[in-house]
């Protein structure tokens, strides 16, 4: 099976507490892979390890068939992936300047058209010159998404991208994710506690519970033929962490 990213024998601790145990996880190129699970299950930690923002206490993360650490990963490879965090964390600057950030650090000077296109995609082109401090939560998250999309990443990580947003913003952001995957071939790994969002967007879904991957299946199998009783309990809302 072709993989773009692979986790092997991962064990991650915070102090004495083991927060993640993943014997193996493979991400296929071009797919939308969703990790669902209750709050505190280790989803965001898993995403940070995949994006090489944290080094696992034990185990290896492979990107393009080679194991790297946050330190050893060459900047050219790091720049082929990016994360949209749950909190947009925009810079104290204009919307346009925020979207331009990733291009600027890459030394790209001719990004105006790309920035405009990315902002049009999230329907915020009219706010290009406005200060990012004045945006609503939904607008800020869309700017955060545009800031990632303008980089045309090979691998896009999304950490609860629509948490606390209104249905209009949720629909728009889901459309953008679907389009990036279909038109640009971007591989998307998203974590969410919203199973219905995973069902709408992903081709494969995994349940993460108490730091362990309980079940990985195609979206259809995951929702219609769950193998593990904990998956069934999570889908019916009976699994509480």
């Amino acid at each position: 099976m072709e993989t773009i990213l692979r986790l092997e024998d991962i064990r991650h601790r915070y102090g004495q507490r083991i927060v993640l145990r993943v014997p193996e996880l493979r991400i296929r190129p071009g797919e939308i892979f969703a990790v669902v699970g209750p709050s505190g299950a280790g989803k965001s930690t898993l995403l940070r390890l995949m994006n090489f923002l944290e080094k696992p206490t034990r185990g290896q993360v492979f990107f393009h068939q080679r194991a790297w650490t946050p330190r050893s990963l060459p900047i050219e490879l790091r720049r082929r992936m990016t994360t949209v965090f749950q909190q947009p964390l925009l810079l104290n600057a204009s919307v346009g300047s925020n979207v331009a950030y990733g291009l600027r650090v890459r030394g790209s000077r001719n990004g105006k058209a790309a920035i405009r296109q990315a902002l049009e995609e999230v329907r915020l082109a009219h706010l290009t010159d406005q200060s990012a401090n004045t945006l609503s939560g939904g607008e800020a998250q869309r700017v955060s998404l545009a800031r990632a999309l303008v980089l045309n990443p090979e691998l896009l990580f999304l950490d609860e991208p629509t948490a606390n947003l209104d249905p209009g913003n949720v629909k728009l952001i889901e459309e953008i994710i679907r389009r990036a995957n279909a038109q640009r071939g971007t591989t998307v790994v998203m974590v969410t506690h919203n199973v219905w969002q995973a069902r709408r967007l992903a081709q494969r879904v995994a349940l993460l519970y108490d730091g362990e991957i309980i079940e990985i299946a195609t979206t259809d199998d995951f929702f219609h033929h769950p193998q593990d009783p904990r998956t069934r309990a999570f889908l019916t809302g009976d699994l509480v962490y």
Binding site: I75, T83, L91, A93, S94, V105, S131
Partner: protein
């Protein structure tokens, strides 16, 4: 009241007559405090950034030392440097005592903890997760630090303002290590002390007004810069 008005009149007269002695004192005050600010900024900004960003063993002790340093008594610093630079002192061979160099050293030591402390607080106020977000967007470590510094720019400029304000108006240490020698180490603050002792109150007030005007202008310039750097203003 008359003495203040007389002093104010004298100050205006001195400023607009471009009195050579006064200009030399003003120039030396600006050079000494300006150089001290540059030196303490070169050392203090990186130290403040590291303390604001990193967690390491012994950090709490270092922070406590920085906070203590923010309240360093200038005369104690002046005395220490005096002993070090005096003929029998370990650095006596340099021959820097009673020179502007000694004054720059004491003022650098006085402003350094202020710049470290204010920079550290400003950097620590930037959300910690922002570093990860910037790394994830492809920024190198150097680019991340520069971006965080830019995000904390209002606080960093406040650090420079505090550092400059503390040393331009300081008198104890420069008096001890500089000696208030005419045409050599006399600055505005030591000149004010001298003229007060001589009973030339109007001249002392005039010098005080000029010192206040310089401090105000420097702060105005930095605040203007702060406003221009802040997109919200």
């Amino acid at each position: 009241m008359d003495i203040f008005l007389e002093g104010l009149g004298r100050a205006l007269q001195l400023i607009f007559s471009f009195d050579a002695d006064l200009m030399a004192i003003v120039r030396l005050s600006l050079v000494v405090s300006g150089m001290a600010l540059v030196i303490s900024a070169i050392l203090g900004l990186p130290a403040g950034i590291i303390l604001g960003l990193k967690s390491f063993r012994g950090k709490r002790l270092l922070v406590a030392l920085v906070y203590t340093g923010m309240g360093l008594p200038p005369v104690v610093v002046g005395l220490t440097i005096y002993i070090l630079l005096s003929r029998q002192g370990p650095l006596g061979e340099l021959g820097w005592l009673f020179t502007p160099r000694a004054m720059v050293i004491t003022q650098s030591i006085l402003s350094l903890p202020l710049i470290i402390g204010f920079t550290m607080t400003a950097i620590a106020a930037v959300p910690a997760a922002l570093s990860q977000q910037l790394r994830s967007l492809g920024a190198t470590q150097r680019q991340i630090v520069l971006t965080l510094l830019y995000e904390a720019r209002a606080g960093v400029l406040a650090a420079l303002i505090a550092g400059f304000g503390a040393i331009i108006s300081e008198v104890g240490s420069v008096m001890i290590v500089g000696g208030n020698i005419e045409h050599k180490t006399r600055v505005l603050t030591t000149a004010i002390v001298l003229e007060t002792r001589r009973g030339n109150f109007s001249l002392a007030i005039a010098l005080g007004v000029i010192l206040l005007a310089i401090t105000f202008s420097a702060n105005w310039l930095l605040l203007h810069l702060q406003g221009r750097l802040d997109p919200r203003q």
